[in-house]
């Protein structure tokens, strides 16, 4: 909300600089978005009189002006506008002036003609969002005067962000009240006397069916008004407050709303038929709002109706046909209290916002309803004539005015804030409208009618905190609470130590990407209001996100990437959903770049498998990798990962076609492991180091090409005898010298005994047994 400083001064005699007032507002809990300086922003723009206007020799749309700004010689100005004539007075930005739009005026040539300044529109002066042509100033504007001063532009305007609890500060007087209370100054009352009704003026018939949502409704007719523009002082304040003048009646009501917080509405009384009733809308009812929207209403929406139908959505917006126009001669004024929750629910369902609804949903001051009606009447009659009728009051005339009572304990407030509250600060709260009486520890509080946010003692603790200031509260470390030490999940950390770069992807992906790896959509969790179709479903796999990140990096000249992500995947399950913490890897491209000591190498399955094995082993676990067809992965290069008996994840090469969908044209390898599926690893246990050396032996066999290495090792382990301490594949060769369909595998095994040094006999025995077992099991032949 924007409030001109001058407007605040109507209510409180502030003298400090605007910056200092802004600081006070912040301290009181009103966030400042900025302090605008409209007058300073147009410093150097002066009133100019157009002495002559002639065509530009080279451009049809430009004119050459001679403009008198009160100096010895008139200025030559090239101007692109067309709405001015000789004798008009216009704002002239002189050389060196910086305008609010950032433009700095320089002497220059426009299409060959010298221009020594610029004639300005409202937009260029920052007075309006749009304008047609130059701002033509009144005839009495003194030539050469600063335009900012002549137009009485505000010196400073505060841009405040009022928190939703402080409906009472959604108006100038409310903010002034806080400032006055804080500074120890008095708050001026609203000026003016009630306006007496004139005889012979019609009196609206008002009924309230929905008394719960509309406890108080005031109506009044004013006949014989002549609608004209609002005077400049109202218009300029509205503009400074960020509103656009509409017509005199509407402008006066907006002014009253900004000034005292009561939204009002004026109907063209001649468009209404019969009496007015405030009731719940019927499902399917509709009306045409002032903003041109056709609004479909639902049961429960609060509407103001006449006999023909809806004339306003209560507290949100009036109807278009019943609105006041320049042709209106009789009006019906409305001032009411609508229940905040009702206004909030309706306007949110309809996604409508208005200045009125913002105030009603935060709660207006019920004590201000009747006063606003009187003030509006007086201003309208003074400015636009007309004869006011009697005010019709429907509902509870004293609704909400008594204010509520609250009992607090000073000690409880002090212990909540951690600071003592001297009785002297009570005065500040009293100036803010509270009634306070201390009685020992007891504090009897009368809550003013405009403070809907104060309902419990804790709310009052906030008022005291604001007044005392948070700076006065000491900083004390609370006593330590000993909790069970956290066992933090360091899954991603060990992957990073192995050389992978951790990424963080969005939890929502495109449904099409999801389908690449999970064909069935039944467990997809879809968003009702996604930002885009690319972020429409919750991910059930981390792989699509990793592929997108890989593409992003490969497109930026990375020769290869090794990525790891830890995050949740989301699935619909019987009666709800699951969120599963998962770690996933992606490896593609060069493992290392060409270097003086070696050539680059393209990553393959075993690079990633090694990484996953290392990651498992860091947790004290060993995985088994069993060939398996996995959706989205290339057949023959994919496996499930088992730890113990349970499947914990998958690994493999992404199908080339899918990789291509992600614009990746090289082999990509991915793996994922569900963290909760992992058993907790064995804690490392001490084993004495061997005292006697081990002996190693190599055996090379010719196998069938499709042999499974893991099975060979199992066979070796079983047949090697109790001394066997290790067995692994150390060589693999298929090519020249090896028949088609065969593969040569070298097996290295080791024997060790804890009690003696082994002999040739020991290794011969083991060797013989292994050869026999392997040849038998795999129909393999020993080569060496």
């Amino acid at each position: 909300m924007k409030i001109p400083y001058s407007w605040l001064k109507d209510y409180v005699a502030l003298t400090a600089a605007a910056e200092a007032v802004a600081g006070d507002l912040v301290r009181l809990g009103h966030e400042i978005e900025g302090v605008e300086l409209p007058r300073a922003a147009v410093q150097g723009v002066r009133v100019g009189l157009i002495r002559s206007k002639g065509p530009h020799p080279d451009a049809d749309k430009l004119s050459l002006l001679k403009v008198d700004i009160g100096e010895a010689e008139p200025l030559d100005i090239v101007c692109g506008a067309s709405n001015m004539t000789e004798g008009d007075k216009v704002p002239v930005a002189t050389i060196g002036t910086s305008l609010p739009n950032g433009l700095t005026i320089k002497k220059g040539k426009i299409r060959g003609e010298t221009s020594c300044g610029m004639c300005c529109s409202e937009t260029e002066l920052g007075l309006a969002a749009e304008s047609a042509g130059l701002l033509i100033l009144p005839k009495d504007a003194p030539v050469g005067a600063e335009v900012g001063e002549f137009l009485a532009l505000e010196e400073a305007v505060f841009d405040l962000s009022i928190t939703p609890n402080r409906g009472d500060c959604m108006n100038v007087r409310g903010v002034a009240r806080d400032l006055a209370a804080d500074a120890g100054l008095s708050l001026a009352p609203h000026a003016g006397e009630p306006v007496a009704a004139e005889s012979g003026v019609g009196k609206p018939v008002v009924g309230i069916d929905a008394i719960g949502d509309c406890p108080l409704y005031l109506g009044r007719r004013i006949e014989g008004v002549k609608v004209a523009d609002a005077p400049a002082w109202i218009a300029s304040r509205l503009i400074a407050a960020g509103q656009r003048p509409v017509n005199g009646i509407v402008d006066v009501l907006n002014y009253i709303m900004l000034d005292m917080g009561q939204p009002m509405h004026a109907f063209d009384a001649d468009t209404l038929s019969g009496g007015v009733n405030i009731r719940s809308a019927n499902d399917g009812e509709s009306f045409k709002a002032l903003d041109g929207r056709e609004v479909k209403l639902a049961d429960g929406d609060l509407v103001v109706t006449d006999e023909a139908g809806v004339i306003a959505l209560a507290g949100i917006m009036g109807s278009e046909p019943s609105g006041v126009t320049d042709a209106t001669t009789s009006i019906m004024l409305e001032a009411a209290f609508f229940r905040p929750a009702r206004v909030s629910l309706t306007r949110r369902r309809l996604a409508m916002v208005s200045e009125a609804s913002m105030r009603f949903e935060r709660g207006i001051d019920p004590a201000m309803v009747a006063e606003a009606m009187q003030r509006a009447t007086r201003m309208i009659v003074e400015l636009f004539g007309g004869r006011p009728g009697e005010v019709v009051v429907c509902g509870d005339a004293f609704y909400g005015q008594a204010g509520r009572k609250l009992e607090c304990s000073i000690g409880r407030i002090e212990s909540r804030l951690g600071v003592a509250i001297p009785a002297s600060v009570d005065e500040v709260l009293v100036r803010m409208g509270f009634g306070l009486t201390r009685e020992g520890d007891a504090l009897h509080v009368g809550i003013p009618s405009f403070r809907h946010d104060v309902t419990i003692p804790e709310d009052l603790s906030e008022e005291y905190a604001r007044v005392i200031g948070f700076d006065a509260i000491p900083a004390i470390l609370p006593p330590l609470v000993v909790s069970s030490p956290a066992k933090s999940e360091r899954a991603v950390h060990s992957a990073v130590q192995a050389g992978f770069v951790q990424v963080v992807g969005y939890a929502f992906i495109a449904p099409a990407e999801q389908r690449r790896f999970i064909a069935d959509a039944t467990s997809d969790i879809a968003l009702a209001n996604p930002i885009s179709e690319d972020m429409a479903v919750m991910r059930r796999s981390l792989w699509p996100g990793l592929l997108k990140i890989a593409r992003h990096n490969l497109n930026r000249q990375q020769p290869g990437v090794a990525l790891v992500e830890q995050g949740r995947i989301y699935n619909k399950v019987e009666g709800g959903h699951s969120e599963t913490d998962t770690i996933a890897w992606l490896l593609t491209g060069e493992m290392q770049q060409d270097a003086w000591h070696g050539a680059a190498r393209e990553a393959d399955f075993f690079d990633l498998k090694g990484a996953v094995e290392g990651w498992l082993s860091a947790r004290g676990l060993t995985g088994r990798f069993i060939a398996e067809a996995i959706p989205g992965l290339q057949r023959g290069q994919s496996a499930k990962i088992l730890v113990g008996r349970s499947e914990v994840g998958q690994i493999g090469r992404v199908d080339a076609a899918i990789a291509e969908d992600f614009d990746i044209d090289r082999p990509v390898f991915v793996a994922s492991i569900e963290l909760a599926a992992l058993p907790s690893g064995k804690r490392a246990k001490f084993v004495p180091l061997p005292e006697f050396p081990s002996v190693e032996r190599d055996l090379v066999f010719l196998f069938d090409r499709d042999v499974v290495a893991e099975e060979i090792i199992q066979t070796v382990s079983k047949s090697g005898g109790r001394l066997l301490s290790d067995a692994r594949i150390f060589d693999r060769y298929a090519g020249k010298g090896v028949p088609q369909g065969k593969v040569s595998l070298g097996i290295r095994f080791a024997l060790q005994d804890g009690t003696r040094t082994l002999t040739q006999d020991d290794s011969d025995t083991a060797s013989k047994a292994i050869v026999a077992a392997v040849e038998k099991r795999f129909a393999a032949t020993l080569r060496a």
């Binding site: 212990s415 906030e462 700076d471 609470v481 909790s483 956290a486 951790q502 963080v504």
Partner: protein
């Protein structure tokens, strides 16, 4: 010439020849061969001794003495020569094995923790030290946990300020949403704590992802928060300030001034926004703090009694403070990262640099 003189002359000539040969030996193998040739069991010196039988009994020891002397001398010469040759060979090898130490080293694969992860790690570690328990909660939440239990009823204006992602399907008839803040973990942690029959104190730090239906230069639809709260007897705003002061100084690794401004959150009363003295200009005013010298970092307050009541904690005995901080924002401030979007673009050049 007597026999003995002839033998001595022969020995002398062997000695001279041997010395020449040793000096001329090009490497240690030649030298070893020469050693065998002259001093070996069947070497030349020994060969001369074979003629000892023809000498008189009194001459024999003399010849023995001469041979021993020559032998000792030659052995010394060999040793010296061997050392010389060894030194030469070492020098040659070292010369041959010289390298260009300015060539780049072999690259060991280097990973990087995402800066958000680093932030989460650092922040939770600080609270862990202060005795806070780490808790997590679901990201897909009910309206009750995300709003109602936090004193944000359906018609509350604050509810509209959370740009909430809703799920298309309900669960057990209830609308579901992506949590807009980590505050629902407050509710869940307290529910479980109370449900398990415990009484406060309870101090929790809850890191996690949160979602807002908002995406532009300064907003990401997904980001991270850390929720911190403590419930105990006599918890006050002063404790809140103490914890904030400790945490912010520990995180920024310098003594940072803090400022609390009154604000409004439905789930705290009183509520305060917390500013830190600008870490870029030390409070003098710069572009980043918009000249104010202060930077807003988080929202905080004393837990609203309605929140405690919603989880059956007796507000006549217990009170608590809570705050929630935006992880990305603090990480950006700590490391001078200018743009929120960098976190989710996942450019490995950025990640490697920040992961250093």
């Amino acid at each position: 010439m007597s026999d003995i003189d002839a033998m001595i002359a022969q020995l002398e000539s062997i000695r001279q020849q041997a010395q020449q040969d040793f000096a001329a030996a090009a490497d240690s193998e030649v030298l070893t061969a020469l050693k065998v040739k002259y001093l070996g069991k069947k070497g030349e010196l020994t060969g001369v001794l074979k003629g000892v039988g023809g000498l008189s009994v009194e001459d024999r020891p003399r010849i023995g003495q001469v041979v021993n002397t020559i032998k000792a001398e030659l052995e010394q010469v060999i040793e010296a020569r061997a050392a010389e040759l060894g030194a030469q060979a070492d020098a040659a090898r070292i010369h041959a094995e010289r390298i260009d130490v300015s060539l780049p080293g072999r690259v060991m694969p280097r990973g990087a923790l995402h800066p958000v992860q680093q932030g989460l790690d650092e922040m939770t570690a600080i609270f862990d030290r202060m005795g806070f328990m780490i808790a997590e909660g679901p990201e897909i939440e009910t309206e009750f946990h995300n709003f109602d239990a936090l004193n944000i009823p359906p018609e509350h204006p604050a509810r509209a300020m959370h740009d909430t992602f809703f799920l298309r399907d309900t669960e057990n008839g209830e609308p579901m949403l992506l949590r807009t803040h980590t505050s629902p973990v407050q509710i869940r942690a307290m529910q479980r704590f109370v449900g398990d029959g415990h009484e406060p104190p309870l101090a929790v730090v809850a890191p996690g992802r949160v979602y807002r239906c908002d995406s532009d230069v300064t907003h990401s639809p997904m980001f991270h928060q850390v929720e911190v709260f403590k419930v105990d007897r006599d918890v006050s705003m002063a404790h809140l300030k103490g914890v904030l002061q400790y945490f912010l100084s520990a995180y920024f690794e310098q003594e940072v001034p803090i400022r609390l401004r009154p604000h409004y959150f439905p789930f705290t009363e009183p509520s305060a926004e917390v500013d830190i003295g600008c870490v870029f200009c030390a409070g003098k005013g710069c572009r980043i703090c918009k000249g104010s010298g202060w930077i807003e970092v988080l929202g905080s307050g004393m837990i609203h009694p309605n929140v405690l009541k919603s989880v059956n904690i007796d507000t006549s005995i217990y009170s608590g403070f809570a705050f929630g901080l935006g992880v990305e924002r603090l990480v950006m401030l700590k490391h001078g990262i200018p743009d929120l979007r960098l976190f989710f673009e996942n450019d490995v050049r950025f990640l490697r640099r920040m992961g250093a």
